[in-house]
C-alpha cells in the first residue's frame, strides 16, 4: 500500500500532490471530517453492545419484581426526571470537577516523572522501585487514611484519583523514553540542543503516543476510583454518593439511573473524546 502510493506520487507532477493526500482508495482523510469507514464500524459495534445490554436488562427485569430490577423504560423515565433537577446536575458536575482536577494533576505529574526518570538514569531506578511497590496497592485502600489526614470532602477523593491515574502515565512514559531512538537524540545534540530542548524537541514528541495510551489507561482508572471513592468517602454530593444513598433506601431505579449515567459518560469520553484527542495529537501517525 505504502509502496504503491509512493510510486504513484513519484509520477505525479509536483503541483497536484498537495490535494491528493488521502487518495481515492483510503477511507480516512487526514482532516478526519467525513465519517470514515472504521469510525462507522466502531459506532455499529457500540450500538450492538448497547442493544445487547438493554436486552439482557429487559430480560432480567421480567424475572424480578420492579422494586429489585426496574425495566430500562422505568429507569430512563427516572433518569430524565432526575436530569431535570438541579441537585442531580450539580452532583454530576461535582464528580466531573473532581475527575478533571485529579486526572489533570496525575497526568502532568506522570509525564514529568516519566520524562525525568527516562532521561536521568539514577532517578529511573529509584522511581521504578517506588512504582512497583506503590502500584500494587488499590487506590481505594488509601481512602480511610486520606480522610483522616485531609478531612471529609473533595481532597481525599482527588488524591485517590491522582494515585490511580498517575502510575499508568508514569510507567508508560518511562518505558517509552527508554525506547526513544538514540539517533533522534543525536540529531538534536549535533544541532547544539540543550537538555531542555532535547526534552521538548525529541523526547516529548517521541513519547507522545505513550502519553496518550497512559492517559487512556489512567483515565479509566481515575473514573473507577472516582466513583468508588465517592461511595465510601463520606461526601454528600457526586455520582458515587448518589448511588450509595439510593441503595440505602432501596431505590433501585435511582441506582440504575446512576449506573447508566456512569456507563454512558465513560463510553462517550473514552471512545469519542479521547479517541479524537489521540488522532489530533498523533496526526502524523494517521496521515496516509
Amino acid at each position: 500500500m505504502a509502496e504503491r502510493t509512493r510510486a504513484e506520487r513519484a509520477l505525479e507532477p509536483v503541483g497536484e500532490r498537495g490535494e491528493d493526500l488521502g487518495g481515492g482508495a483510503s477511507p480516512t482523510s487526514p482532516t478526519g471530517k467525513p465519517p470514515s469507514a472504521p469510525g462507522l464500524r466502531r459506532l455499529t459495534a457500540y450500538g450492538l453492545a448497547f442493544l445487547s445490554i438493554l436486552l439482557g436488562w429487559q430480560l432480567a427485569s421480567l424475572f424480578f419484581p420492579a422494586y429489585l430490577i426496574p425495566t430500562p423504560t422505568q429507569v430512563f423515565l427516572r433518569l430524565t426526571r432526575e436530569l431535570g433537577t438541579r441537585k442531580f446536575l450539580f452532583t454530576i458536575a461535582r464528580s466531573f470537577v473532581r475527575l478533571g482536577i485529579g486526572f489533570g494533576i496525575a497526568s502532568l505529574l506522570g509525564v514529568v516523572v516519566g520524562l525525568a526518570s527516562g532521561v536521568w538514569g539514577p532517578f529511573r531506578r529509584y522511581s521504578r522501585a517506588l512504582v512497583s511497590i506503590l502500584q500494587s496497592i488499590p487506590p481505594i485502600a488509601w481512602v480511610p487514611l486520606f480522610i483522616i489526614l485531609l478531612g471529609f470532602g473533595d481532597r481525599p477523593i482527588i488524591l485517590v484519583i491522582i494515585i490511580s491515574a498517575f502510575f499508568p502515565m508514569a510507567v508508560s512514559v518511562m518505558n517509552a523514553v527508554e525506547h526513544v531512538e538514540p539517533v533522534h537524540v543525536d540529531v538534536a545534540r549535533l544541532m547544539g540542543a540543550s537538555r531542555l530542548q532535547l526534552i521538548s524537541k525529541v523526547y516529548a514528541p517521541e513519547v507522545l503516543p505513550a502519553i496518550v495510551t497512559g492517559g487512556q489507561v489512567g483515565f479509566g482508572n481515575a473514573w473507577r476510583s472516582l466513583i468508588a471513592a465517592e461511595m465510601v468517602g463520606g461526601v454528600n454530593i457526586g455520582l458515587g454518593w448518589f448511588i450509595t444513598i439510593a441503595g440505602e433506601v432501596a431505590d433501585m431505579a435511582a441506582v440504575l439511573a446512576g449506573i447508566v449515567v456512569i456507563g454512558l459518560f465513560s463510553a462517550a469520553l473514552d471512545s469519542w473524546v479521547l479517541e479524537h484527542l489521540k488522532r489530533r495529537l498523533l496526526k502524523w501517525k494517521y496521515a496516509v
Binding site: A2, T5, G15, L21, A188, R189, M191, Q197, A287
Partner: protein, 281 residues
C-alpha cells in the same frame, strides 16, 4: 588554494606517513586526527587513526563493513569520546557536538512526527531563529534540495531519496562548515543514488564546506571525492589514501577513474573478509 597544494605535496608520501608530513607543515588542516583509538570493551575498533582533511576538501572513507567508519565519524562529530588520541577541528580539540559541524546518518533519521519542513526547521528552532526567518530559510532549503511542494508531507509519505534530501536540507539549514556523511545514499536504489551524488556535488561546490563521506561504494567515492581513504578491516586503520585528480564533473567511465577503481578494489580485496561485501559494480 594554499591548503590544497599543501595537501597535494603531502600526498606524495601517500598512505600512513602523509598525515605526519602535514602536521610537520602547519596547522592548516581543517580536521586533524591524531593517534585515534577506540575500544568497545575488549574489542579494538579503531587502531591509531591518523588523518588530515584540508579546509574545503571532500574526503571519502571506504572500508569493509564493521571496520569502524561510523565510529570514526561519530568521534569526529563529537558524539562519542575516543579511547585514545584526539581530533582537532580548526585547531581545537573536539570535546562534544557543535553546530559548526554536522552529520547525516546512514538512515535518514528524520523525525516521523514532524513534516518535511518542520524537520528542516529543527536546527533553526534550536538556534531560536524568529519564525518568519525560519519559514523563509526552510523554503529556500527545500528549493535547494528539490523538495518544493513537499513541505507538509510526513517522512513516511515520501520516497527514500526524498528523505535523504530532507535530511541533507535539515543539516544544511544550520550551515555547518564541516559535514560528515555516513553512507547517506547507502539505502537507495542505484538510479536515485546517481542523481543524489550529482546534487551533493552541486551543493558542495563553491560552498567551501569540508566534507567527509563514508561509503561502501568505491565508484561513488571516486566520483565525488578529492581523496579517498581506504580503511582496513577491524581493527580499523587507514591503509592508504588515494588522490583523485580528475576535474569535476567526472566521467565514471573514464580510463583514470576505472584504473583508480581497480586500485582501490585491489586494496580492499587484500582483506579476505571483505571480498564478499564489495558491491558488484
Amino acid at each position: 588554494m594554499e591548503i590544497r597544494s599543501l595537501v597535494e605535496t603531502a600526498e606524495l608520501g601517500r598512505g600512513e606517513e602523509a598525515p605526519s608530513l602535514l602536521l610537520a607543515g602547519a596547522n592548516k588542516g581543517k580536521i586533524i586526527v591524531q593517534e585515534l583509538f577506540k575500544d568497545f570493551d575488549s574489542l579494538r575498533v579503531l587502531d591509531g587513526i591518523h588523518l588530515e582533511v584540508g579546509e574545503g576538501e571532500f574526503l571519502a572513507l571506504v572500508g569493509p563493513s564493521g571496520c569502524g567508519k561510523s565510529t570514526l565519524l561519530r568521534m569526529l562529530a563529537g558524539l562519542m569520546k575516543p579511547s585514545g588520541g584526539r581530533v582537532l577541528i580548526d585547531g581545537e580539540e573536539v570535546r562534544g557536538p557543535s553546530p559548526s559541524r554536522n552529520l547525516v546518518f546512514q538512515e535518514h533519521a528524520l523525525y516521523p512526527w514532524r513534516t518535511v519542513s518542520q524537520n528542516v526547521a529543527l536546527g533553526l528552532e534550536i538556534f531560536r531563529f524568529p519564525p518568519a526567518e525560519i519559514r523563509r530559510r526552510v523554503k529556500e532549503l527545500l528549493a535547494l534540495v528539490g523538495l518544493e511542494g513537499f513541505d507538509d508531507y510526513y517522512p513516511h509519505q515520501i520516497s527514500g531519496g526524498m528523505r535523504q534530501r530532507a535530511a541533507l536540507a535539515r543539516v544544511l539549514a544550520v550551515d555547518p562548515d564541516v559535514l560528515f556523511l555516513d553512507e547517506p545514499f547507502g539505502a537507495l536504489d542505484a538510479m536515485t543514488r546517481l542523481t543524489l551524488q550529482k546534487e551533493l556535488l552541486r551543493l558542495w561546490d563553491h560552498s567551501g564546506k569540508t566534507v567527509v563521506l563514508v561509503t561502501h561504494d568505491v565508484e561513488e567515492a571516486l566520483y565525488l571525492a578529492d581523496r579517498v581513504a581506504i580503511m582496513s578491516a577491524v581493527p580499523g586503520r587507514i591503509r592508504e589514501i588515494i588522490r583523485v585528480k580528475d576535474p569535476r564533473p567526472r566521467d565514471r567511465g573514464s580510463a583514470s577513474l576505472v584504473s583508480l577503481k581497480r586500485t582501490v578494489l585491489d586494496l580492499l580485496g587484500l582483506e579476505p573478509k571483505f571480498s564478499q561485501t564489495i558491491p558488484a559494480i
